[in-house]
């Protein structure tokens, strides 16, 4: 449980840490204006950095929140999960299907055609931005689309972004074709 929460309230898994109180209050206001359900809390002692005020968020919404704070030039230290590891999974696995390569990052998989660099499938995930990203990416070349994290909102889109960057790297280095 996050300090400062009433016992019956359900934490949604993430908090934003700040350098000072002013940053925290500004971020809370910006996020609430954008429709996010957030609240000011005291961070758990183990996670405390900077000031003694944090903003509790739904951790799954990390991608959209980071983008909004960057667009508004709002300062913060970092976004961390309340429980468990504080770092995102960065491991990828690559599967060669012959004409196509599948890159897996976390729960997301992106498959592109070796010859053209066209995205042919996106699978995995479970957050509601994934079907949209799937529809946006399919049939387009890796070099001609925006990164998933630029228009996704959730951690699934962040995992898809990791798979996308690795796919782009493989494609640019001719890795899939020779």
């Amino acid at each position: 449980m996050v300090f400062g929460l009433k016992k019956k309230e359900q934490s949604e898994g993430g908090i934003i840490l700040f350098n000072n109180v002013e940053e925290a209050i500004t971020a809370e206001r910006l996020l609430m204006s954008a429709g996010y359900e957030v609240r000011l809390v005291a961070p758990p002692p183990a996670l405390r950095k900077g000031c003694d005020l944090a903003v509790e968020i739904n951790l799954v919404e990390q991608t959209g929140i980071e983008r909004l704070l960057a667009e508004k030039k709002a300062g913060y230290l970092e976004i961390v999960p309340v429980k468990g590891r504080g770092t995102l999974l960065g491991v990828v696995k690559v599967t060669d299907f012959g004409e196509a390569v599948m890159v897996k990052a976390g729960n997301m998989k992106l498959t592109f055609e070796k010859e053209s660099g066209t995205v042919v499938n996106v699978s995995g995930g479970g957050c509601p931005d994934i079907p949209y990203l799937h529809a946006y990416l399919i049939g387009k070349k890796l070099t001609e689309v925006r990164r998933p994290k630029e228009y996704g909102y959730t951690l699934c889109s962040l995992m898809l972004d990791t798979a996308f960057i690795e796919s782009l790297d493989i494609w640019k280095n001719n890795g899939g074709r020779s």
């Binding site: 799954v60 498959t111 499938n121 699978s123 509601p128 079907p131 799937h134 959730t154």
Partner: protein
């Protein structure tokens, strides 16, 4: 009633409930044609094919537009919280939606106020929310893939993006251990159908069955093949099949659908869905489906 709930990638699509149909290309709901791509649309499409084949009532879909902002998902949660006891579905499948633990808890509580508690099935982010909120054991079935199985086995992770690296890197042979670990710390539903190169059926933490043929590696790359497994499973349970048999059939029919569709990494999910009747026919013709369910027309 088989009720399937989830988000579709059209922010303007209002919260809509009604009987669904699949015309070979699109999902039809309330007079609208929805693109049958990865996600809840694929799940509903697969369920439509199975219920039609079995002569059961078409699934009802509760869909809402949500591109990831969570606005549509929240309205879906609130609708279920208010209306589940009066809808009282026989089988409730929760799927793509922004995982909000507090709201998921209230949905489960609402389901428990139904005159007869529905069979609760969760996949995708509904499963993430259920596990992260400590509600897994109140669900009958989860349908994770391998990476999601690692997430269920990690007691600290609230999303697969934060799963421990050693769990993510474990190979398919580790599924039985991951399933047992998830069961022991309350991260698994009573039954799991774990989708992968080998599909595992797990009850109370113990593997009770597996399906590995036909082997079609390309299915993993095709967006929506996990969704179709869950849709087929939900439809068989709705039709009265035992959980274990329904899971076995779902895994097998999904693979056979891939075979009939000559699946490659380029295949689209609507092609897999269109092949489901042929896969069902295979199973019936070979007497693999040995036990017909009850009179499905009488189910409510």
């Amino acid at each position: 009633m088989l009720l399937v709930c989830g988000a579709i990638p059209d922010e303007d699509f209002p919260l809509t409930i009604g009987p669904a149909a699949f015309d070979g290309e699109s999902l039809l709901l309330d007079g609208k044609a929805l693109s049958c791509t990865q996600g809840t649309a694929a799940l509903v499409g697969a369920a439509c094919k199975v219920t039609a084949y079995l002569g059961a009532a078409a699934p009802r879909a509760l869909l809402v537009g949500d591109r990831g902002t969570g606005k549509g998902s929240r309205s879906l949660y609130e609708y279920l919280i208010r209306n589940l006891p009066s809808i009282s579905p026989r089988v409730l499948v929760l799927h793509y939606m922004l995982p909000v633990m507090g709201l998921m808890k209230r949905v489960v509580e609402s389901s428990e106020r139904c005159p007869r508690k529905p069979v609760l099935i969760a996949d995708a982010a509904a499963m993430y929310a259920a596990k992260a909120a400590g509600l897994a054991l109140r669900f009958d079935i989860f349908t994770p893939d391998h990476s999601e199985m690692a997430f269920l086995a990690d007691p600290e992770a609230s999303h697969p993006a934060y799963v421990s690296r050693h769990l993510f890197e474990s190979n398919g042979a580790m599924i039985p251990k991951l399933a047992l670990a998830a069961h022991r710390h309350g991260g698994a539903a009573k039954m799991l159908l774990v989708k992968g190169a080998t599909d595992y059926i797990v009850e109370d933490g113990r593997v009770v069955g597996s399906v590995s043929a036909p082997e079609i590696p390309a299915l993993e790359a095709i967006g929506g093949t996990g969704d179709t497994v869950t849709g087929i499973l939900g439809a068989f349970i709705y039709a009265g099949y035992e959980f274990r048999e329904a899971a076995n059939l779902a895994a097998r029919i999904n693979r056979l659908s891939g075979l009939h569709a000559a699946a490659t990494p380029f295949t689209k999910i609507r092609q897999i869905i269109a092949a489901i009747p042929a896969a069902l026919e295979d199973c019936f013709r070979s007497n693999f489906i040995t036990q017909q369910g009850p009179d499905v027309g009488d189910l409510s």
